[in-house]
């Protein structure tokens, strides 16, 4: 058991846990950020996706002791705190979620994709998002949401069309 310092969603926090506790469970059960989800524990489903220094990672695979003290962690709670991110607005506009359980992970992967590649092709979207499973089958709307957000970000407009 040791005390670990974390920088999470812009705040400094500490967690007193065993060295092998995966970051996923530190985030959820110790720090209380429930938005990041458990789905498989073996990096097959992507529900646990967070950002470390802006890069999407599967938090179920990172034992807390292996996390750098300088690492800046962002969870879904840290996205769109002041105003919804274009991805989140697009998700609402396109009505992406059904049960919604996988969507924190989907959004984290999508936000990182657009940061890295503001105008992804369909193939690039699939490659970036393929690690995120959705059993409800919302994949086509996820793709539409990403394209909508990409266009909105590029043109400085809103993903909300109000055309229905």
């Amino acid at each position: 058991m040791a005390t670990y310092q974390l920088q999470i969603n812009g705040k400094k926090m500490t967690a007193e846990v065993e060295a092998d506790m995966p970051l996923l469970w530190v985030i959820r059960d110790v720090l209380g950020f429930k938005g990041t989800k458990y789905g498989c524990g073996i990096a097959q489903c992507g529900a646990c996706t967070i950002h470390i220094d802006g890069i999407p990672v599967r938090s179920c695979q990172i034992p807390i002791a292996e996390l750098s003290r300088k690492a800046k962690i962002t969870t879904i709670e840290g996205i769109g705190e002041i105003a919804l991110h274009a991805i989140q607005e697009a998700w609402v506009e396109e009505q992406v979620p059904q049960c919604g359980y996988c969507q924190s992970g989907q959004i984290m992967s999508a936000v990182a994709l657009l940061k890295n590649n503001p105008q992804p092709t369909d193939e690039e979207i699939k490659t970036a998002m393929n690690g995120n499973l959705c059993r409800c089958g919302t994949y086509d709307r996820i793709q539409k949401g990403i394209k909508n957000a990409a266009m909105a970000l590029q043109s400085g407009t809103s993903p909300v069309r109000n055309d229905k």
Binding site: P22, F33, T36, C45, T75, V92, Q98, C102, S104, R135
Partner: protein, 701 residues
């Protein structure tokens, strides 16, 4: 600007009352509608939301007739009490089951409010109308808010036959509306079963028997107890409907420690005969043996066997579907607090709080009215969470520990322990004559949910759930002679309903074999079906599908289209899939689905559900199923039990028929025609007729 976002985190009816200053009164106009004197309105959603949109659909029925905006009310999940009636989400029954009851509840409340206003204005009720949570006096500027009228209205008798709106006047039902639950699902704020925390909670990770039904011989927990956070190791029971089995629970102060502790347990199990008897090979062997014999008759029109014997244009075949796991991304979880005063409080993502309450009362040995039941959001379910074994474990441990306890299943538990959609066989026989399909016999073979789950199937009785789906009453095919029969082949492997239940198994056999007969008759599969379908709704679905999928299009060699139509859960759905061959096998290019679900609440949600059904239907058709060897499940997690990923979905289109018929289901009917449409498309493209699922599309050339 969205007002009055539904309280999705922890708000209950009792907490609404507790948080109110005394001058506000909650007036229950009927169980589903609560209007406060300050004008705020709460609607009760009696059907848990597992992604299918009931959180909005059911309240929409109330809101339409009550003349309130969904975006200006608070929506609360019901808690299982009998005053809310049936609260089971499943069978695609929410909208069609509640279409009249909830609309009547809304209309009755509106009439009661109008009555009070009419008295206050000393006028007749005909001079009053309701709009946007106010009652107005015609030809005047007078109005009352519902809050001002509620106290008097709550004293009135409830009208037994309130007038319902004409669908032509609907402002909510049948219209595009943004779903109320979506905003919280894009910010991580939505609360699912797995997210529940209560003060003093302990966590349980349960070691189940790898062969599911084995009994414990010994437990060595010496290493487990050394894990920091682990508090104790106790034996418990997993209660399934048909069997109770031994299990060992590791209890810890945090779930990671419980899970780690479980990995260090050494349990010796007595598997008995299970390694030999509980295998999918043994089960399917029994089903193939049964396919050689006649089954129990469910329905017969004319003398099928006699006509078949003398026909010189006939076919017979056996179609096979595998066991499947639901594998919702959120695994099974329940929090139970059995208190010192003999009452209990439960948070469990079941598909129905009434069923959950009844089972919990049994598991805990207390009366239902001693239990407070909360249903958080379900992170997917598809039928799985309506099977309350995980709840039984939490109840068992709650009684033992006398502390609130959270049982959380790992993904490995979810995949290896079931329950599963059963694998089934269709033994089909058919004939053609004068260019038409002239006879069809569907002999369904396999385990029965009514039998295993409810112990309700007599030996000489055809399973009622699936037989109804295969009947000519259901498929409307005008076969001159036909037969539906059934053989019960049992398995110890636990089974349960999976999305679209038996329709997911038997759509494959029915619609692929209709195609085989069509080809035998020398007819196009669309024409062959139309020539034996009189029902206008079935014909319209097929004709619409043909138009939207450009069925008549001449395709280059190596490309093919296949279609299928299946009626289930009160709706009719058809699917056309286009495939092409490539160096790497088959590519599924496009799926076009048509659904006639009668009246619907939200067209966008009908499309979304049908998209989901296409994806899940393709997953079921081309990904490995669940297999059991040596008594154990061979698959353990998503790397071995694969489900479709984003790069595997085809282009999809969904078309909704505007039939204006009585509402039919939406959550499931889109799934059954998907696999047979694919099988028929592969035949069209390659000439290869496949009869066993899953199809390995990479290996077909």
């Amino acid at each position: 600007m969205v007002l009055g976002l539904p309280k999705l985190k922890g708000e209950t009816l009792s907490s609404i009352s507790k948080n109110l200053p005394p001058e506000f009164i909650n007036l229950e106009i009927n169980p589903f509608i609560i209007i406060r004197t300050d004008g705020s309105i709460t609607l009760i959603n009696p059907r848990p939301d597992m992604g299918q949109g009931s959180m909005q659909a059911a309240p929409s029925l109330l809101a339409e007739e009550l003349e309130v905006s969904l975006y200006k009310v608070t929506i609360i999940q019901s808690d299982g009490q009998s005053k809310y009636g049936s609260q089971q989400s499943g069978g695609s029954s929410t909208v069609r089951g509640l279409w009249y009851p909830l609309r009547k509840a809304g209309a009755a409340a509106k009439e009661m409010l109008i009555q009070v206003a009419a008295i206050k204005w000393a006028t007749s009720t005909d001079n009053c109308f309701a709009k946007d949570a106010r009652i107005y006096l015609k030809n005047s500027d007078k109005s009352f808010s519902y809050g001002e009228l509620a106290e008097e209205a709550a004293k009135l008798p409830v009208p037994k036959n309130p007038k319902l709106k004409d669908p032509a006047d609907f402002t909510i039902l049948g219209k595009y509306n943004k779903r109320l639950d979506i905003p919280s699902k894009v910010t991580g704020k939505a609360e699912f079963g797995i997210d529940i925390e209560v003060p003093g909670l302990v966590y349980a990770c349960i070691q189940h028997s790898p062969t599911i039904h084995a009994s414990i011989v010994s437990v060595d927990d010496s290493k487990t107890l050394l894990v920091k956070g682990v508090q104790k190791v106790i034996r418990c029971k997993r209660t399934m409907p048909h069997k109770q089995s031994d299990a060992v629970a590791v209890i810890a102060s945090n779930w990671w420690a419980a899970q780690k502790g479980r990995s260090l347990l050494t349990v010796k199990w007595d598997d008995g005969q299970l390694p030999t008897t509980q295998t999918t090979d043994a089960y399917f062997q029994r089903t193939y043996d049964a396919a050689k014999k006649e089954g129990v008759r469910y329905e017969e029109k004319g003398d099928f066997l006699a006509k078949f014997a003398t026909s010189n244009a006939k076919l017979e075949a056996v179609y096979e579907t595998p066991f499947l796991a639901h594998a919702p991304i959120e695994p099974e979880c329940a929090v139970v607090h059995y208190k010192e005063d003999g009452t209990a409080e439960i948070w469990a993502h079941v598909q129905g709080p009434d069923g959950g309450l009844a089972d919990a009362a049994r598991f805990l040995g207390i009366e239902q009215d001693k239990i407070k039941f909360h249903v958080p959001l379900l992170g997917g379910s598809f039928g799985r969470k309506a099977y309350h074994d995980y709840l039984s474990e939490a109840c068992y441990l709650a009684k033992e520990l006398k502390k609130p306890v959270k049982v959380l299943w790992t993904r490995e538990d979810d995949i290896t322990q079931g329950p599963y959609r059963p694998g089934m066989l269709s033994r089909v026989q058919g004939m053609v004559s004068n260019g038409k399909i002239s006879g069809f016999h569907h002999h369904a073979i396999g385990e029965s949910i009514v039998g295993q789950v409810f112990n309700g199937l007599k030996p000489d009785e055809a399973d009622p759930w699936l037989s109804g789906e295969l009947s000519t009453e259901n498929n409307q095919y005008q076969f001159p002679v036909s037969k539906v029969s059934w053989t019960h082949v049992k398995t110890e492997i636990p089974i349960v309903w999976w999305r679209s239940v038996y329709a997911s198994n038997f759509g494959w056999g029915q619609e692929c074999f209709i195609d085989e007969l069509a080809h035998l008759a020398g007819k196009d599969p669309l024409e062959a079906r139309l020539s034996i379908l009189k029902d206008e709704r079935f014909r319209k679905v097929l004709e619409t599908l043909a138009e939207k999928s450009n069925w008549k299009e001449k395709l280059p060699s190596g490309k093919g289209k296949g279609l299928a139509i299946f009626a289930s859960f009160g709706s009719i759905s058809a699917c056309c899939i286009t495939v092409s061959t490539s160096g790497k096998g088959i590519i599924i290019e496009k799926a076009v689905s048509v659904i006639d679900c009668g009246h619907y609440v939200n067209p966008d949600n009908v499309v979304a559900q049908t998209h989901g059904n296409i994806v899940m239907g393709i997953s079921a058709a081309i990904k490995d199923g669940i297999t059991f060897s040596n008594g154990k499940c061979d698959q353990t997690n998503y790397h071995e039990y694969q489900i479709l990923r984003m790069n595997e979905i085809p282009e999809m289109e969904v078309h909704i028929i505007q039939s204006g018929a009585e509402p039919g289901g939406v959550g499931e009917p889109g799934l059954p025609p998907v696999a047979p449409a694919l099988g028929n498309a592969i035949f069209a493209a390659t000439g290869i007729r496949l009869r066993k699922l899953p199809i390995d599309i990479t290996s077909i050339s």
